[in-house]
């Protein structure tokens, strides 16, 4: 039956070491929970939430469905590595149980089972387990081959950028890559010498390793296998492979209702699990608008948080466009982490708004729409005018809440990580809004929209003007005929990814013209470069991003670029060859009469001569 051998010790020591370190780290991260156990967490622990967590671990931790949806080849690579390994772990347990009739063994027994029991009989069931284990191994080896290919030529895996790793991660990677080929060769040699084996190891053993001269190599190979496993486990808790157990723990904790803190605590509670659950899969790299210029992508940002070094500049140059969070296969709260980091950098910033006058709401008659154009809206008189014309056309009554003076909604402070400081601003605006009688609040600024919706707790519904115009169109209050105009539409980050509003602007544009498909749009759209998220990105860096975004938007056939955010429009219009207009301007009968820039028009006239 079970016989022990010295060569299992490297594996056992490494494995025990990893277990102890992991346990200590997790307990440390959860220290606040021990002190103050949350009743919600406990009640959820023994409920369907745990089952939901198991399901998510299966679909994301093993099958990697979200990666697969974004990039099939990359998804298959991750799936084959994780699922194959999982098959072997589970299969090993069952196989030893089946053959020994005993469920509990030393951990090493299943791992090195082939060495100890090379000639297991067991009829068809025994044969099944042999082939099953080989299938798992084959799956892992396929994934490994893809991973190696990814390192050599990443385009094969359909990606442009892959993460650059630190030394400890490269060491861990080397051991990980060695484990499975060594297991294959060790098993094949054992079967070659003793006969038997599945379709992979058995066949390989019969054709390559049956010579008696190789018998002396059997034990050294199993040693090498054990050593690489042990070494991998020793570096695991200090490398990015910590993500393997941490991701599973994170999924459980999230399902049990744990939420990330607002302030930066990289070694505490859910934030610690989020920061360490990143596998650096690289999906956040290709989607980042600044991938060619800056290293602030989430994979690097999280790595900097793990090491505690250099995260400050990465947090304050990032645009907070949300593209990485959208792409992240394990749904890490990356935006929240970034704002938390910015808040930490500027923790000495304390705002004072005691100078604000108290608002005495003026009694007004009930109107349909309360219009709020926001700080930036003031710089866009054409948008405001167009929207008011459209209100008239749709027969809606309205009050322009901030026609004279207004104050900021508070979101820019939140994006800088100082959300708490904005409470006075929110209070002020809330009083102003709730003092009015209206059916809805409409804003032309997606930044205000998000803030009003998420953080104001208003009694009346809040809409972006594109949503409201869309409702009017569908209700027949606005009628448009399809013209010959061709548009390309720029999705503002705050409206698209942050507020999931993609359909309304598109249908509005399609009602009056042709909307051209773009290389990157909707959730994959590029940031205009003018994001309020970035604090220390210089003007020239921003302008470089803008010109890249414009390249996507200046698709052939487009006569004008349309967007629905005053910041995006302001920024794009300054740099664009094509006219850049707000959705409302396009829809309104009255807009800027002649849209082409003088230079463009002059040149067109010249070319006609």
């Amino acid at each position: 039956m079970e016989k022990s051998a010295w060569f299992v010790w490297p594996f056992m020591l490494g494995f025990m070491f990893a277990l102890v370190v992991l346990l200590l780290r997790y307990l440390w991260w959860l220290r606040s929970l021990w002190r103050r156990p949350s009743s919600r967490l406990l009640s959820r622990m023994f409920s369907k939430h745990s089952l939901l967590a198991v399901r998510e671990i299966f679909s994301e931790g093993l099958l990697h469905l979200r990666i697969y949806k974004r990039n099939r080849r990359l998804g298959f690579m991750h799936m084959s590595l994780a699922l194959g390994w999982f098959m072997m772990i589970v299969g090993g347990k069952f196989e030893t149980w089946f053959h020994s009739g005993q469920f509990l063994h030393g951990t090493w027994y299943a791992v090195f089972f082939r060495y100890f029991e090379p000639q297991t009989a067991g009829g068809w069931a025994g044969t099944f387990w042999l082939h099953y284990m080989d299938l798992g191994l084959l799956l892992v080896l396929t994934g490994l081959a893809l991973a190696i290919m990814k390192r050599i030529r990443k385009r094969i895996l359909g990606i442009h950028s892959s993460t650059r790793h630190t030394l400890v991660n490269r060491v861990a990677l080397t051991f990980l890559w060695m484990i499975f080929p060594l297991r294959l060769v060790a098993e094949a040699l054992t079967f070659g010498q003793h006969g038997g084996g599945g379709f992979l190891t058995g066949s390989l053993g019969r054709c390559c390793f049956s010579s008696g001269m190789l018998a002396g190599l059997e034990l050294p190979l199993w040693w090498a296998y054990s050593l690489s496993l042990g070494a991998f486990f020793v570096v695991l808790p200090f490398s990015r492979y910590l993500h393997i157990p941490t991701e599973m723990a994170l999924i459980f904790l999230r399902h049990w209702g744990l939420r990330a803190a607002e302030d930066l605590q990289p070694e505490k509670a859910l934030q610690a699990f989020e920061i360490h659950a990143c596998s650096a899969c690289g999906l956040c790299l290709d989607v980042c608008p600044a991938i060619k210029d800056h290293p602030f992508q989430s994979a690097y940002f999280l790595r900097a948080l793990r090491s505690g070094k250099g995260w400050e500049s990465l947090a304050s140059t990032c645009l907070s466009c949300g593209a990485c969070e959208e792409a992240c296969p394990i749904n890490l709260g990356l935006e929240k982490l970034r704002t938390a980091a910015r808040g930490k950098i500027h923790e000495k910033h304390h705002a004072v708004y005691s100078y604000l006058p108290t608002v005495a709401p003026v009694e007004t008659s009930r109107v349909d729409v309360l219009l709020f154009t926001g700080c930036m809206g003031r710089l866009k008189p054409a948008t405001t005018k167009a929207l008011k014309d459209l209100f008239e056309e749709a027969g809606l009554t309205w009050v322009h809440l901030d026609e004279q003076e207004s104050i900021c909604c508070g979101r820019p402070l939140s994006l800088a990580g100082r959300a708490g400081e904005a409470s006075a601003l929110r209070e002020h605006n809330r009083n102003l809004i709730q003092g009015q009688q209206a059916r809805m609040l409409v804003t032309t600024c997606p930044i205000c929209l998000k803030q009003f919706r998420d953080d104001y707790g208003l009694e009346l519904p809040v809409y972006h003007h594109s949503e409201m115009l869309w409702y009017c169109l569908r209700a027949g209050r606005l009628k448009r005929e399809k013209g010959t105009a061709c548009f390309s539409y720029h999705d503002p980050c705050e409206l698209g990814r942050k507020s999931a509003c993609y359909q309304a602007p598109r249908e509005l544009l399609q009602s009056c013209g042709t909307l051209l498909p773009l290389e990157r749009e909707q959730a994959d759209a590029l940031c205009c470069g003018n994001s309020l998220g970035a604090l220390s990105l210089s003007l020239s860096e921003r302008q470089a991003l803008t010109s890249r975004t414009l390249k996507v938007l200046e698709v052939s056939g487009a006569q004008s670029i349309v967007t629905s955010c005053p910041l995006c429009q302001h920024n794009l219009a300054r740099q664009s060859r094509l006219p850049v207009r707000d959705l409302a301007e396009v829809l309104a009968v009255t807009g800027l009469p002649e849209q082409h820039g003088q230079r463009t028009a002059a040149l067109a006239a010249v070319q006609e001569l």
């Binding site: 008189p381 054409a382 302001h570 740099q575 003088q598 230079r599 463009t600 040149l603 001569l609």
Partner: protein, 356 residues
């Protein structure tokens, strides 16, 4: 290759029939060279056609333009009007001028004199150009002076409130124009005085960042505007134009010297749109393209220690006047003479090589 073989009969082609082009043509013609002018419009004159009167002395623009045209006609400089050169092809030591697929002519030397464009004020939407009828550009105001366009306020308003905004689309990195357009300051002073002459009761304000009165007698004009005309100069920027009382505009600004915000109602807001490149010079090995400018593209680059006209990297290609950067008329005229001298030297050296 024998350079003289490719030297066409007409030695110099000048692209652009504005003040720079005409003056360069005259200077070269006086030196005995045969010159041709290619002008994209149907008339000579360039931006000067649209001007009413000129700083600092108030000379009528049409008088100066008339004189220039007369001299060009007197010297019988061949004119190719309505011809827009968009490509120069190097053949031997000379050039072939193209408009699309049509060759327009040949020349040993080409002088770019196709001037500047005005910044499109629509790009600064906050000032409401194209949205509010009472927002004009400086060029529009000249048209008003020339009676080609009506005043944007009713004839009943005898004491209009008028604001001039300096540096619209110049000294502005966000607009891709880092340079100072340099003659908008004095133009605003000139126009403010003109408005005051026509409406003595008017209140006229100039919103400036820095007043750059660099030219001869400009500073005197500034003082005159202050003292004799009562024009008020406010060092500060305008925030945005919004609809005000009646047909007026409501504008907000910062008075940086007082350190206080201010707001006022205006009957007319004049935007001093800066000078920006009219075309983008794209240089290839044996061809030069005149393309539509893009964001941040600069004026024509020239080489030399001080003011020079020889275009960087292109032998036999010169640039004259405001296509090299903002310039006033006296500067354009002085530059034309300097460029003509440089062209003469170049052609002489070419002939010396050919004879040798």
């Amino acid at each position: 290759m024998n350079a003289s073989e490719y030297l066409p009969k007409d030695e110099v082609a000048i692209i652009g029939g504005g003040p720079a082009g005409m003056q360069t043509a005259l200077a070269l013609s006086e030196r005995g060279f045969s010159v041709r002018i290619y002008e994209q419009k149907e008339q000579l004159g360039g931006h000067l056609k649209g001007w009413h009167h000129l700083f600092p002395h108030g000379v009528a623009a049409s008088d100066l333009l008339g004189q220039l045209k007369e001299q060009v006609l007197a010297r019988a400089v061949p004119l190719h009007l309505g011809q827009s050169v968009d490509r120069l092809q190097k053949v031997g030591a000379g050039w072939v001028l193209w408009q699309g697929e049509r060759p327009l002519g040949r020349a040993g030397v080409v002088v770019l004199a196709n001037g500047f464009a005005l910044f499109d004020a629509r790009r600064k939407e906050e000032y409401g150009y194209g949205l509010y009828p009472s927002v004009l550009t400086a060029a529009d105001l000249e048209a008003v002076f020339r009676k080609e366009q009506p005043w944007p306020f009713g004839s009943d308003r005898m004491a209009p409130q008028v604001g001039f905004v300096h540096c619209v689309g110049s000294r502005d990195l966000k607009c891709g124009s880092p340079h100072c357009s340099k003659l908008c300051c004095v133009t605003a002073v000139k126009q403010a005085m003109a408005v005051k002459s026509l409406f003595p009761e008017a209140q006229v304000y100039c919103f400036y960042m820095d007043l750059r009165m660099h030219g001869l007698e400009y500073e005197e004009l500034y003082r005159k505007a202050q003292v004799d005309y009562g024009v008020r100069f406010i060092r500060g920027r305008l925030s945005e134009a919004a609809p005000g009382q009646g047909k007026r505009l409501h504008v907000k600004a910062e008075d940086t010297l007082q350190g206080r915000p201010l707001h006022l109602q205006l009957d007319m807001l004049v935007l001093m749109s800066g000078m920006v490149p009219a075309f983008l010079l794209e240089q290839q090995e044996r061809a030069v393209f005149l393309k539509e400018p893009v964001f941040g593209s600069g004026f024509v680059p020239v080489q030399g220690l001080l003011a020079a006209g020889s275009v960087v990297q292109q032998e036999g290609l010169f640039a004259s006047g405001a296509c090299k950067g903002p310039a006033t008329l006296p500067e354009v005229f002085a530059d034309a003479a300097a460029v003509a001298r440089e062209v003469e030297q170049y052609l002489k050296s070419l002939k010396a090589v050919a004879h040798a």
